[in-house]
Symmetry: C2
Subunit: 165 residues, 2 copies
């Protein structure tokens, strides 16, 4: 079975999935950047969390998430944070970029058969690794869209949803 045969029978390759995630993470990074410093940590609509908290949730899924996917070791969600909540946009973007590099570095270690192995992620969510990865990505799209509404409510043009460059 050659790599070419696998690819032609595959919906999305591991490398394409990484690029899919990183493309969305670039849009989210631009969303963080678009917020004024104060409103990033304070502004919300309808009693929801400010965008800095939503972005930190994405980080706190993806960062221990990629470790769990590589090692099979999980700590309960909320008990695995290794960093304090950033208090400035610069610090949040620093964390964001650290994870970008980490994902690129660790991703090649995920073996193809790993995507269909079932685990109890964060000690509470059972599913295949592919389900989990799409959950991380979809959760990011979902919360980033909240951020888009916050920006519109602040009179600020959000980044383009379709531009993943």
């Amino acid at each position: 079975m050659t790599q070419e045969l696998i690819t032609s029978a595959t919906v999305i390759t591991p490398q394409e999935l990484l690029e899919h995630w990183q493309g969305h993470r670039r849009v989210t990074r631009r969303t963080i950047e678009a917020f004024p410093e104060t409103e990033l940590f304070t502004f919300s609509v309808g009693g929801m969390r400010p965008f800095a908290e939503l972005a930190l949730e994405m980080f706190n899924m993806g960062n221990p998430g990629i470790d769990g996917i590589i090692t099979g070791q999980w700590k309960p969600y909320g008990e695995q944070e290794t960093v304090s909540a950033p208090k400035t946009k610069e610090a949040l973007l620093y964390l964001w970029d650290e994870l970008t590099e980490k994902l690129n570095r660790l991703w090649p270690q995920i073996k193809p058969e790993r995507f269909h192995e079932v685990e109890l992620a964060f000690g509470q969510w059972e599913g295949t690794i592919q389900f989990l990865l799409f959950y991380f990505i979809d959760n990011e799209i979902h919360h980033r869209a909240q951020g888009f509404v916050y920006l519109r409510a602040l009179g600020i043009e959000p980044p383009h949803f379709w531009d993943r460059s």
Copy 2:
């Protein structure tokens, strides 16, 4: 090359991708249902479109989208609508459910190698079929999240993001 081998080397199978999409579509259906009749067609935040228009956009991507994926024939986006914009929640849900059935019916016709064929979808978006399908899904997650903010701003609890049943 057996089906088992392909599956074990695959990030997500065609059947899983259909279920992924339909799971998200069930959440979106509950989001439509959660809106009061009038606000579904009129309420917005920050000058954005009411949720009925966003849901219709999802329909107007997915409905001719699945036809294009099956046939390779595309009309320009905006010139392919075969239905008038629904004016009631009931009519919108009717369209929604029609597409649910249609996706289930046509999906098995998508050949595995089709996911990596490149096309100019709707006469303007060039990419692989898998890219296009994830674009439909991601666009739905994105706009549905706007709907969640609208519901919160109206004091209404949105459906659970994580419940795809």
